[in-house]
């Protein structure tokens, strides 16, 4: 599937990405308004399949807004207006014929603070499977729950207490539970919005490790304002910054190694070396 040449500056050049690397999600001329105020402007970026892309930048530059536009969570905010297109495998998910609810079953999300439902561990993971009718009997449901918990590196810790209430888990465990909950419905893409910001270093490391293992099955986009995390975990990095009008824009995008060692934009360099943001 070729896309032709993009009008904008940022695309992942063929010689940088491998021949096998496909574009999974393409964001084109995306702008988001909250009430009448422009939050992010004219974002153009391609996320590659089975890669981990990090979005970094100072607080308030619109990283989460961009992330939420990818699975149409901005639809739920009454005063938000989204302009532009987001293509998933070539299909514009903002097209009128597309059901936003269906989009979210294919593009999953994990939030900043762990937010498990006030239910048992099992029911948390099973929730998405049940409402999307993805299992035809209890056996299949059990299997999906176990698979999801294994992928989230939580199975061993909870396998004999699946009925306990989710709130009894520690913060790091709860966040992995939320990851399992998202994985249980077999999404193709996983969005993570600063998932380890409220966790201790050990839990953070566990989650970074499992993301690395998940890469082979999923495309992962992670917003983080921990640059070290981005450097550790991601294959590609996008840098966002507020412009003079305090509107968020994309200023740099490329393979992580290059962005961190040889940034093309002066502002990226300033941010990375800690002078800004």
């Amino acid at each position: 599937m070729g896309y032709g040449v993009l009008e904008q500056e940022f695309k992942v050049e063929e010689k940088v990405r491998g021949i096998r690397d496909e574009v999974h999600i393409k964001v084109k001329n995306l702008s988001v308004y909250y009430r009448k105020r422009l939050a992010i402007s004219d974002i153009n970026i391609e996320f590659l399949k089975n890669k981990i892309t990090a979005i970094i930048g100072p607080s308030g530059c619109g990283k989460s807004t961009l992330l939420r536009s990818i699975n149409r969570m901005n639809d739920l905010i009454p005063d938000a207006t989204v302009i532009g297109k987001v293509y998933l495998d070539g299909i514009d998910i903002y097209d009128k014929s597309v059901d936003p609810v269906a989009v979210r079953a294919v593009i999953g999300m994990v939030f900043q603070r762990p937010n498990p439902f006030p239910m048992s561990i099992y029911d948390n993971v099973a929730f998405g499977v049940r409402i999307n009718r993805l299992a035809k009997d209890r056996e299949e449901l059990d299997k999906k729950v176990e698979d999801a918990l294994r992928k989230a590196a939580l199975w061993d810790e909870v396998k004999d207490r699946l009925d306990t209430h989710a709130y009894e888990l520690s913060g790091g465990q709860q966040q992995r539970l939320c990851i399992a909950r998202a994985l249980a419905i077999n999404p193709k893409v996983l969005l993570l919005d600063e998932p380890t910001v409220s966790l201790d270093p050990v839990s953070t490391a566990k989650i970074e490790e499992l993301l690395y293992k998940l890469k082979s099955e999923l495309t992962i986009i992670i917003v983080t304002h921990n640059m070290l995390q981005a450097a550790r975990v991601s294959d590609f990095t996008a840098v966002m910054m507020p412009n003079e009008k305090l509107v968020g824009t994309l200023i740099e995008y490329g393979p992580t190694k290059e962005v961190f060692t040889n940034p093309k934009d002066k502002r990226t360099e300033a941010y990375i070396s800690g002078r800004v943001g």
Binding site: S97, V98, V101, A102, V106, R133
Partner: protein, 289 residues
């Protein structure tokens, strides 16, 4: 991965999203329909019997001449005295709970008792008023007893709204006063109370409109007496507007029924007036900020 995955699947559920809010709004619809038919019925059956005589005449066995003058007086006396009792006590209680009291345990004990009082059915206030105030204390089945009963009935309401009014005053203002070396009372008197007073007033108007509509406790205290004179002292026997209505409602003649309707219209108008005053007060309050 094909386009069909993203297309609208689960058509049934999409329909649910459209219809569920409509189903939930049926509840609202029923409630509003009920209020509408109630008001319509009252108006249709009573509007033509509205007259000045209704306000100025005494009750009589002849429906064409009956009026509710003693009841109006009774209402004014009892609600008036009750406000004179409940307002100071309620405000003072709120001041103590919010401005003075330090010990957590004492404060929650007092709060619990306030809540308990709020949970007692209104008729029980009447029963206890009759037993304790009318007989044990010998105050008789009088206006005074009715007022005291109404005062304690509405005390939780006055206290809670006064508390809210006090809590709405930002602490910064108090701290500024302390920093100048003022005593606690001086701060309350000159800083907190002036700011809180409008909201407290709103609360007391609400309590007043509640007291005006209460029939049950007064029924117990005063019984169903035929009052032929205007009360002249707090120890007189009395009746109030809702009780007069109860009296007329219990009569079999259709004319009394219409009279009751007319009386209800008057009562409702009075309450609407009071509530409009509250809304107006609230509006003026928010404009001031």
């Amino acid at each position: 991965m094909g386009h069909q995955v993203l297309a609208i699947r689960n058509r049934r559920k999409v329909i649910l999203d459209i219809y569920m809010p409509i189903i939930y709004s049926i509840g609202l619809f029923i409630a509003i329909l009920f209020i509408g038919s109630l008001l319509l019925y009252i108006t249709v059956t009573g509007a033509h019997r509205l007259s000045w005589e209704l306000l100025t005449n005494f009750p009589s066995s002849n429906p064409k001449q009956a009026g509710m003058l003693p009841a109006i007086y009774g209402t004014i006396w009892t609600v008036g005295i009750s406000t004179l009792i409940s307002l100071p006590i309620g405000i003072a209680t709120a001041i103590y709970l919010n401005e003075y009291s330090g010990m957590e345990k004492l404060r929650s004990f007092l709060q619990i008792n306030l809540n308990s009082l709020a949970g007692v059915p209104s008729v029980i206030f009447g029963v206890v008023g009759l037993g304790f105030l009318s007989y044990t204390l010998g105050l008789g089945r009088s206006i005074l007893v009715g007022s005291i009963v109404l005062a304690f009935l509405t005390l939780p309401l006055v206290t809670v709204s006064s508390l809210e009014a006090l809590k709405a005053v930002p602490d910064d203002l108090r701290l500024g006063g302390y920093a100048l070396g003022a005593t606690r009372w001086e701060i309350i008197k000159s800083i907190v109370l002036p700011r809180a007073l409008p909201m407290m007033l709103t609360g007391s108007i609400l309590a007043t409109s509640r007291a005006i509509g209460e029939a049950a406790p007064i029924l117990i205290i005063s019984g169903l007496v035929f009052i032929r004179e205007i009360p002249t002292s707090p120890l007189d026997r009395f009746t109030v507007m809702p009780l007069q209505l109860y009296n007329w409602i219990s009569r079999p003649q259709v004319e009394f029924r219409e009279l009751a309707s007319a009386g209800i219209i008057l009562l409702l108008l009075l309450l609407i007036l009071l509530n409009a005053a509250t809304i107006y007060l609230r509006y003026r309050l928010s404009k001031r900020r």
